[in-house]
Symmetry: C2
Subunit: 214 residues, 2 copies
Amino acid sequence: MNVLVIGANGQVGQHVIDQLKDRNHKTTAMVRKQEQVDKMKQLGADEVIVADLEGDFSKAFQGQEAVIFTAGSGGATGADKTLTVDLWGAIKSFKYAEHAAVKQFVQLSSIGAGDPDAQPDKIKHYMVAKAVSDQMLMTTALNYTIVRPGPLTNDPATGLIAKAETFTDVGDRSISRADVATVLIESLTNEAVRRQAFEILEGDKQLADALSES
Amino acid sequence: MNVLVIGANGQVGQHVIDQLKDRNHKTTAMVRKQEQVDKMKQLGADEVIVADLEGDFSKAFQGQEAVIFTAGSGGATGADKTLTVDLWGAIKSFKYAEHAAVKQFVQLSSIGAGDPDAQPDKIKHYMVAKAVSDQMLMTTALNYTIVRPGPLTNDPATGLIAKAETFTDVGDRSISRADVATVLIESLTNEAVRRQAFEILEGDKQLADALSES
């Protein structure tokens, strides 16, 4: 498939680009800055598009069959960017994807997005943005998969996860960005996760098997 | 009708409470602070409920037939509150209203909410919150009316407005909060504005006639 990765220069995004080079897909990395282009090519992107989530980036969707949305404004900017990038950038992506007849839309969300009111004050506004983005995606006709990982680490990939609609007790469990990237990529082709939102943590199930369980 | 006014202590909200006392409705004012209760009673509210948009305020919807949502976090707080109050508070209201079988939901929005990307950087994030709130309301089964006024003034009511789906040129036109409040109240009972979003400015048409035009 022709796969567009939005937020390709992000921490999870880079794992996605890296892992996609060993798969049978044509990868287009969307990044914000010209200076990020070479890095994307070195990581294995077939194409790189420079575009800004705060503007019109519809051109990136031409000819794409699938989208992996991993973009976020990050912790260094204010909540205004959470609105214009994380939320509005995602919603514009849904519209562009519908218009381009994209077949699969895989969105990176977060484990708190199912219930923002239960989150600590400090991150509640961010969880609202993720929750509303997820809810807006669910109202589209897109064939979506919404992946909500727990706390992220830079540990190496294990290929093992736990999956649940909602974990009742996360405890001190986390999940590596590398494993999250694999879940995003597997979701492109796994029919069991169509129009589903689910949480993932480190675990003891083979990743593909865990995704195939309903 | 039993009408719940959310954000009753806001600048437009106070006009709504004041004007509703001369109508054939039972008005419940929802405010955030206990110290605002007396003011609401003096303005003419039949009932006052103290509740927080950042928490669970479902109790306010019991027995209500209509809702006027005029709440906003205002300019004194950050964009995090734009997410948790303006956006998430509104979305929770839609859910509570659906659950309580509310018949009419009238939402105060803003003239920029139809196209956030066309707004100046300084207010774009706010317009995103209003736009997404409006879009989420449109996906519900509620009988909604979304009112998008231009720049607001404290001028006295004129009873005269201009209405359009989208004004191509706002120019230097504004609209008084008092006239906006009348539009919100008229929208409760005017069948012509059911499941509609529209912009309003000062103008030369009788307010009720302007609303009745499709």
